[in-house]
Point group: D2
Chain length 295, copies 4
């Protein structure tokens, strides 16, 4: 079992740290919220008195933070952990952030002799609690294998996308594509409905034809076609419009960096921005169906 | 075994009629091309000396024609078959045409006491030859069941989409969605490549995540990720850009009829129009990948 | 002064016929609404007892109808006017319809020796009343000149776009472009506002730079930048979202006919469809600004 | 006459500095290219031996640099000019950069008691030489007025857009709108041409109707409609596709910052990215017309 430092005990980080404890690891936690720290302490974690303390004797430091600037600051800012980490520690950043920040932090740590992988997750709060998250990892083969040994205690599918930063890139490629599947499926279903088709029948046909995609399989955006999906449950999230909009923003930022053309991705982003304008940011991202159906 | 009249022996109709013969049916064929008729005659078909003759004693009349105007003319034009068909005949139009024309012809025939289903196909020339086509059928339950009895000799998946015209609507909903999957997957893959990711690895990750869709499963648009797909074979079709553009035109026509909003479908249509402008109409529709990758 | 038959006395047709009377012409009118006919009779028009009667001794027949199918039916349907018109009559169809219908009717009339121009208008109900409409005319030079002699009694700008049908094409090209200017200007203004800029200042800068366009000059979509425009008046039309959506539908139909790529036009159409979905069809088309600004 | 320091003597900066000399100012110049410095020295400029030297006794420091990172570095990097500038100097940054960088540098200088305006230009190399540039300025009223006194020696239209950063925002709002006008006008013209209309006639009609915009007035994208425009001259720039793509990237970056929806702007950006993919980055930005017309 390993000594693990854990930074960031929010909606996702909390249950992730909890699962590491359940697996038998020794976990030292840090968060600005004393409540969050207390909660994990009850479950057996050690509370760090300062963020630097999570580095002490840590074989792994795992972080789960809101945005690139926080990750840059914690590791590479003034008094950054870069000055406190042991060379034998592997840093695993599970935050979903821009690839540029992941590469920057990874490279700075590398210069200081410290190993780093970016390992953004998908699967949401439910997946974090159940330990069924997906991790998409960027880093060397050796670091991936080492990270894998503890990521499997928090998740089910662990992918190795490539070098440092590749985890972030692969995740936003996937989520950009997902937004396109969701919007495209919604358009096709509503056009069928407008012509008198039954959405269950049309969904079944497309699911068994070349229109098949993840949203038709598991996350149909039209109410009452599938059970136990957000659309049938008043679009309660699930995965919020605001979070999808955030990921689509990261995707456009990445496209910008490489001059990549992404006309559908840019359109999907703007449709999600229109939903935010309409005050639907806190609904499930499948609520884009309503953009087409509400008349 | 049934008496079947068959009109339209082109790239698709020829092999379809051929499969009906192989299944033991008695088939009377008509086409403007004498060559096409001769080809089927060798295989055992009776050559009709006029289009009206396909109606004689026919339990089924199957047609496979290029556009709505041809279907309207053959059945409901001056000297249309509407005046020659028996009331016991079931008309099965397998053409991919606008839903409005299918509904018009179906309704006119109904007034004359003649049954009709629209049954557009997908699966391409290869599927027509192999008898593995998909049929999406619009019509009553009784007519669907009757049609089904001979469609299974030409295809593998037979769907019942709803009333007359619903076959056409479901097909273009599916193909509109397919074009969105193809373009969206191409964008996501190329953005990953632009950031240094291996398209095989990225494809594998998205295939096992929420980006999963038919194109990643069976028809990856990036060369050399999968074997035996058009992208790995110089984008030889397969399903031509020109045909996808035609279907997307029918989709926009249908959207127009019902004021349905289809921003991604409209965009995909225009991207395929741009490909036609660039002289790529005869390439496989997965060649949209080149719009993003060629630099 | 001329003998003129006038068909269609709606919101636009009524005041147009009225202006012909004021200019001293002898006008025979027909409409399905007896009220509309009575209204014009008071102003000095002769009421036709049947639509055929507008043809009697007419030097011009002017029509103002809702859609292509009405124009086809009135002129070329069973008992169409094609059988009643004199060869010396010039038919001037002022309806905004699809170019294909205009060409069909024009060609059928030509075969019967009757001259035809399509002459769709812009300028709205206010322009119809004030006699300041714009007419965009398709037809031969001779027919254009002849039409011009009475169009100047109803409008201010009379353009000759080309042959029969060209009037319709030019009008929808213009209106498609207008919708793009309106949506694009709205986006730019709101992005500026989101960054703290004053919309008056930004409008003034763009009006005097390369962003200059008709909407910034005369029809600013942001409330309180200009006086006496719909945006400053609660988006009371003006030119309704529903009418712009209709014209954009005709534009996409025309694009379809020639396989023309119009990605921005298709997008603008879909944004107007989304507004209709939101129940804003009766607001002025500049209300697209709210799609961006409402938060 | 004023003492002016000038940093960045490229295609734009060179002729701008030259115009300041012609107006009688005393100008001290710096550039990494010795050639560029020598060229200005011949015209009467003093060559600074280091970039710090441009600050000596300067009433104004003008900079013209490629991107935000250069502006940040020169002023606020290690050994940045922030440590060398007098409090009485007004810094005028004429670079086109992201608004965030302009605000960052402006705020840092303000903390050190030094005044700053951002003043991006439009008008191209020809306008720089002729002294007819447009400047869009962000800063306080007092600083704007002070800047204005020397900007008039380099340009014709000087706008005050708002506070620090507002010059950058207004410029990209305008250029985003311009790209939409250019693409939209190209679509409308080509759709007309596809239907047999003469582009000169259609341009004239739209120019006098609600489709009127700057591109129809002064920069028609269709060859041979206007004289002395890039389209009639083989699309020789003018304003390059690559530069428009850069500005559209800055626009999307700004939209990202504020979650602004810009569907048409995002689409225009992607169409320009597609042109870059096709190797047309060095052509004039009106060459987007070819995307629609080449068949």
């Amino acid at each position: 079992m390993a000594n693990i430092g854990f930074i960031g005990l929010g909606n996702m980080g909390g249950p992730m740290a909890s699962n590491l404890l359940k697996a038998g690891h020794s976990v030292t936690v840090f968060d600005l919220s004393e409540e969050a720290v207390a909660e994990l302490s009850i479950q057996g974690a050690k509370a760090a008195s300062s963020v630097e303390q999570v580095c002490d004797n840590a074989e792994f430091v795992v972080s789960m933070l809101p945005a690139g600037k926080h990750v840059r600051m914690i590791y590479c800012g003034e008094n950054g952990l870069i000055n406190h980490l042991n060379k034998s520690t592997l840093v695993i950043d599970c935050s979903t952030i821009d690839a540029e920040s992941a590469q920057f932090v990874g490279n700075e740590l590398a210069k200081a002799g410290i190993s780093f992988v970016d390992a953004p997750v998908s699967g949401g709060v439910a997946g974090a609690a159940a330990g069924t998250l997906t991790f998409i990892v960027g880093g060397t083969d050796a670091d991936f294998n080492r990270a894998n040994s503890i990521l499997t205690d928090m998740g089910k599918n662990i992918f190795h996308a490539g070098n440092i930063g590749a985890g972030q890139v692969a995740k936003i490629c996937n989520n950009m594509l997902l937004s396109i599947l969701m919007a495209g499926t919604s358009e096709a279903l509503q056009m069928g409905i407008d012509h008198g088709l039954d959405p269950k029948v049309l969904s079944e046909i497309m699911l068994n034809s070349s229109g098949r995609n993840w949203t038709l399989e598991l996350y149909n955006p039209c109410p009452d076609v599938q059970e136990n999906v957000p659309s049938t449950n008043g679009y309660k999230p699930g995965f919020m419009v605001d979070l999808m909009a955030k990921d689509l923003g990261l995707a456009q930022q990445a496209a910008q960096q490489t001059n990549s053309a992404t006309p559908l991705g840019a359109m999907a982003k703007n449709l999600y921005n229109l939903m935010q304008n309409q005050g639907k940011g806190a609904e499930d991202f499948s609520a884009i169906f309503k953009l087409y159906s509400e008349k």
